[in-house]
Structure formats: C-alpha cells, structure tokens
Symmetry: C2
Subunit: 409 residues, 2 copies
C-alpha cells in the first residue's frame, strides 16, 4: 500500500527569525498562476519585465539583471564560478558565517582565497580592506553586505573606488539586505551583486536575483561556450578557461535571457512569477519608503530589547535594519525560549551559527513582517516567554518602548 | 517614475509541447500555501514525507531520495559533480541533445568523457554499451532515459548488470519520463537517478528529485566536507578530492536532509510543497495506472498522426510514451504551424534542437495533460492549422483514429 500522507496544511506562523519570513500573500497568489511555455511570447515578456524590475530594485543601469534558478547561495556560486578562473586571487573579509561561506565557495571555484578576519559582531574599516588589497593584489574582492549570522552590515560605499584603484572587481552578496536597506549598485560601484527572495523581498527561497555590469559581462564573455547539440553554424569556441559549472555558466544564462533565447535550463516559471511580484510590491511601496520602514523598525526593536533590560549583540552602529541580535542572559536556556515562542505563540525566532550558536537570539522584522503589529506582538510574546524561563523583564516595558519609537517616528 | 508593470495575468494555454506542461491545479494550490521556517518541525516533517514519497515514485528502498533546488539540469550536475573526481572516465551514450548535455556537464566536472554516438531517432543496443564499457573502463556510465529532443527512450533494464560486471556506477537522467514511464530504480540496478517536475509530474520547473543508493552514498561520503562557520567540534576534513561545487555537494545535502539538519541552502519552501503534491497525485492515481494511461495516449497519438498521413520520427518501437515526434512535410513551414497553433488555438507544440530543428514537430501529452480531451483537441487543431499551411489531411481522420484507440483500450 502506498503511503501518501495528508494534503498540505502548514500551521499559521509569524516568522520573525533570520528568514525565510512569511511571504506576502500577493506573492503566494502569483505562484498559483497557470504556467506558460518558456518560449511563449507572454512568458519571455515576463522575463524581460523581471529584468527591468530588478534594475530598479538594484538602482542600476546594468542590462544584465536576471534570476539564477536556485536559492541565494546559487546566486553566489554563479557569480564566483563564472568570474574566477582557476588560481586567481580573491580577497574575502570574514566577519561571520556568510563570509566563511564566501571563502568556501570561492575555494571550490578554484580561487586562491585571501581571507581577512574580524570578530563576529564587527565590520571592516575601508582602510583595512585597502591594505589587504595592496598586499594580496586580488582579481576580485568578494564581500557580504548583511551577514545575518552576526546581524552586522558591512559599509560598502568606499569599496567600489578602492577596487578600481587596485584594478579588481567587487562582488557583493546582498541576500539579507536587498529590499530592506539601500544597495545602490551603480553609485557604489559594485560590479556584481546577488540576492535572495526570502528576506526583505517577502518571497519564498529558491530564486536568486543577480545584477552585473559590463566589466563583468566582458570578462565572463571571454569564457563563453555554447552547448553541443544547440550550437549555431560557424560556432567559435572562444578563449579562456571553461567555466566549471554548466548550470551556473553566466554567458549561457545571458544567451537565455537575451533575444537569442538560446535554450539552457527551463526557467522556473512559478519562481519567476514570485520574483516579479516581490519586486513589483517593493517598487509600489517605493524603495525609499521601504528603507525608512526597516530603519524605524530597527530602532523600535532596539528600544524594546533595551527596555527589557537585555543586551544587544555587536556594534549597533553597523546593525542591519532588518534583524536584531540579542545576548542570551546567563542562566537562560536559549533553545527552550525559541521552542516556547513557537509552541505558545506560533512565532519563530532564531539563534545563530558556530561561535554564536546558543549565545544570541536573532529576531528578524523584514519585508512583509516589517510591521508595527508584528514587532509589538513579538516583543510581548518574548517577554511572556522569558519570565518562566528565568528572565523577568519589567512588565510591558519592551512593547511600550517600541510603540514609543513608532509614535515619534 | 518607476516602471512597475501590470499584475500577472498569464493567458490560458494548453501546453502540448515537450514541457513544461500545465501544472495540475492541486500543485498550483500547494504552492500558494503559507511558508514555514526551514527548521520548523512541521517543515522538516514535510521534508521527510517528501523523501518517503520520492522513494515510492522511484520504486526504490534508497534512503537518499530528496530534492535538488534547481531545474532538472541542476539535478544532473549535482549527481555528476559529486560522483566524478577529476580525471575519472565517464561513458555517455549520445542519441540526442540531452546526451550531448550529459557530456558537457561531465566534462565540466572534470571527467574524461567517452561518448559513443548513434543517429538521433535511435537508441543503443546493450551489447554496444557493454563493448564500450570494456574498451574505456569508465568509473561511471551516464545515460539519458527519455531524450525529449528525439522522443526516444533508451532501454535501461540490462544496463545495471552490465555496470556491475564492469565495476562501474550507473546514473540515469529520467527527467522526461519520471511518473509517465516506469523507472524501477532497484529492479534495474540504477545507482543514481535524477528527474524534474515539469514533465509527467505536472509541476513547475525548478526542483529536481534525485535518488541514489549506498554505493553512491559511500563514494561521495568519502569526499565529505563541512563548511567553516558551522563545523562541529572534532571535525575531520575527510579524504578525497573536494567536490568542486558547494551548492551541488551531495554529502552536505545529505546532512541537510538528515536528522542532523546541518544548514546548507535554505530549502525552497514552495517548490518543496509543489514536489510533495506532484508525487502525492501520482501515487494517488497509482503508478501502474499512470504508466498505462501514458502508453494508451501514445498509441492514440500515433494512430491520429498516421491517419492524417503524416510520418512519425524515429524508431517507434522505442518511442517515449509521453511525446511524439512528427516529420514536418516538405513545403510546410513548421514554425508557422507552431505559431498558428498558439495564436488560434492557444495550444503550444514544439520543434526540436540542432539537426532536428525545423525538421520535426514534437507534441507532448503527459502528466496533467495526458488526457483524452487534450489529445483529441490538439489533433483537431493540428489538422485545421495544417490545411491553410499547405498540408491537407483527410478531414476528421486524425481525431477519429485516436478516439478509436481510446474506445478499444
């Protein structure tokens, strides 16, 4: 007898962890739309519209702004594996788990990785990065914008110029900030950026929006290769090291996302619908309005947590606006609090990784969940959860302080 | 002013090409379900249920049956890049575009690829494959089951034994047949198999179900590596060449899909919901019933096309049951017929790739669209479309012949 299980019936949850967060209902609705063939003019029209929407989201004129069909780390790998030829130097500033991940992926792409490190909870001064650029002369500087493992956002505004001074490319993983904090790709001189849908864009994980400029397009274009079986007449195999992944080969993806529509993968129809709707919602709100909303929410969270007598984690002047790290007080079982929040209030919060596992809680308030009601409810539930677990905050103080920030914002 | 575009409104289409096809409405509904956190016990429960469903779909006892977060070719690359260490021999029988693709991907994974070729429209005799195994002594035989580019299905039932005789592993890309033709993984001795949702499983492209046995698990396990930033105490870096992709690293994915739940990517929530529902539907129908339905549909299509006086493509004794190749008659503009079908009837059919581009039409009838009404409607529309384009089939003959197959099935 086959074991078929019940129909899906996910329980109601308020997802206030580091992501995924609750998808916007409009995004869920978009995903339920009927499929189209990948070369249907309506569908290729949607592909082009998605490119135009992504350009606006990334505040860029970059023609090449499209989706990688995979989660956020698929976007990272597509950029790195297409840019890096074996043996090339890549500088990675590591201030958390996602800096470590960047090193891992770059290494697998054959890079000679130069990592510089700082304590988790801090960020890098531009001077320190420039010194390392001088010392290592890398082909690429690869950095994370918001590292959710530490809740810190690396300042990026000086890095584009530093990279140009040292003849290097600059790649930024903006998965955790995109749509919540400004990432002005052209103004900051970022050569390539990748993101994900499941944080401030209020979509499901599984599609990674990327953008890159002509400097990158030219570089990867020299490694262009067309698959056997679909090569046109007079095909020229090009020069440069073969990109070690077929799936993540940016020049092939450029052909697929151009008017030549040379077949590569079959675009993930429903995830494209989702991505298109995620970005439409952000642009409808207005980018600036979104950034302000996340900044005010961050202040409300900070005020609420402090009023509860809890200590914030890390260098608050560089805190990401969409996530807040809170030190777990001595004697409190952090995992039990996370469990109680889920079981009693259906609210998900998280801890972190590696050295911070069990040392901090992480509470997100981003995208669709970057709302006053979500923040206040979470703080109220947090207070009620902590008390029987051995930490008695002044009753009502957290919610009052957060509400006060909203009232005076 | 931002350019935000209209809300999604994909037009009604009957997708009778090589896939994607219309998703089952139940699958679309599943994708609109609310998200859960990736470590929420409800969600990890759904992950485990999905594994159990995939085992039944693949007719296997393999514990390792899970999803790669990407389209079908992501599944191919995950298997090949994790199995193949640089310089190892891989034998690929090439009888169409997806055989070529297998060579491409294997090459990028560092394999020494030995391709044997046969004309597009044919398949390989087991003897020919065994001869090549003797000559090249590959570590892996990698073959496509149904190559949609030619509409042929490679017989697989002898290959498992051949591989064991020659101490090689056997990997099969079953993207185009899974859920429509039988792929009894254990009975046929297939060591690893990958698929996609967008063909006979009636889902959207973007998630690739894979399965592999202990032979593969042991081999890739020797290449196991845990990411910096999440390594447990006493971590042992293992032996064997580092897998060149982080995203497609099977041992890491095994940790993520096991009770240790070691973080890797963030599982694509909505695509997992889709995959789970796709397989539930197939198992609810019954595997055998599904295979019979596709086989009868294939006979109806063959009878209909022949009654219209058109010629079928390739070796019909090895035709895939879910897709039919039709020679484009001399003097008929194949692309114009495809366009007219879409514009007048909202029915999508396709041509093929490379040497078959513009030489054949491909009409699919699979998964949700493997229905009598879809087949009869398509044949009626096809006849009406061909007439003004210079090919006059006997009026009504195609539909009558197909209906006769259904009535006597």
């Amino acid at each position: 007898m086959p074991e078929i299980f019940e129909a899906l019936d996910p329980p109601s949850r308020l997802l206030m962890g580091p992501g995924p967060i609750n998808a916007d209902p409009r995004v869920l609705r978009a995903m339920a739309m009927p499929l189209l063939g990948q070369f249907d003019p309506m569908f290729t029209g949607y592909m082009n519209e998605t490119m135009a929407l992504l350009r606006q989201l990334y505040q860029t004129e970059n023609h090449w702004s499209f989706l990688i069909n995979g989660t956020a780390r698929a976007g990272i790998e597509a950029v790195l594996t297409s840019i890096i030829s074996p043996g090339e130097g890549v500088l990675v500033p590591v201030a958390g788990r996602f800096g470590e991940l960047m090193c891992e992926i770059a290494e697998r792409c054959g890079a000679k990785v130069h990592a510089i490190e700082t304590d988790w909870g801090g960020v890098f001064e531009p001077d320190r990065i420039e010194d390392a650029m001088k010392r290592f002369k890398p082909r690429l500087l690869a950095t994370v914008h918001g590292d959710t493992s530490t809740t810190m956002a690396q300042p990026l505004d000086d890095l584009g110029e530093i990279c140009r001074r040292h003849d290097a490319l600059l790649y930024v993983d903006a998965t955790a900030t995109l749509g919540g904090m400004t990432v002005p790709v052209d103004d900051w001189g970022l050569d390539a950026v990748s993101g994900g849908l499941q944080k401030c864009l209020s979509g499901p994980p599984g599609s990674s929006p990327i953008t890159f400029n002509d400097r990158v397009a030219e570089l990867v274009g020299r490694r262009k290769h067309i698959e056997r079986g679909i090569r046109p007449d007079g095909y020229d195999p090009g020069e440069g090291a073969l990109i070690q992944s077929n799936y993540f080969d940016l020049p092939m993806l450029m052909d697929y996302w151009s008017e030549s529509r040379l077949n590569h993968h079959t675009e993930s129809t429903s995830m494209l619908y989702a991505a298109r709707e995620c970005v439409r919602i952000v642009l409808n709100d207005g980018l600036e309005e979104r950034f302000v909303r996340h900044e005010v929410t961050s202040r409300a969270m900070i005020a609420g947590v402090r009023a509860m007598g809890l200590e914030l984690f890390g260098d608050i002047s560089h805190k990401m606006h969409n996530i807040t790290g809170i030190m777990i007080p001595d004697g409190v079982d952090g995992d039990a609090v996370i469990r109680d929040m889920l079981q009693n209030f259906a609210i998900e919060i998280g801890t972190s990784f590696g050295p911070l596992k069990g040392r901090i809680w992480r509470i997100g308030a981003m995208g669709y969940n970057c709302r006053k009601d979500a923040v206040l409810t979470t703080l109220a539930a947090f207070e009620a959860t902590l008390r029987p677990r051995g930490y008695a905050a002044p009753p009502g103080a957290g919610v009052d302080a957060a509400l006060n920030v909203y009232n005076t914002a």
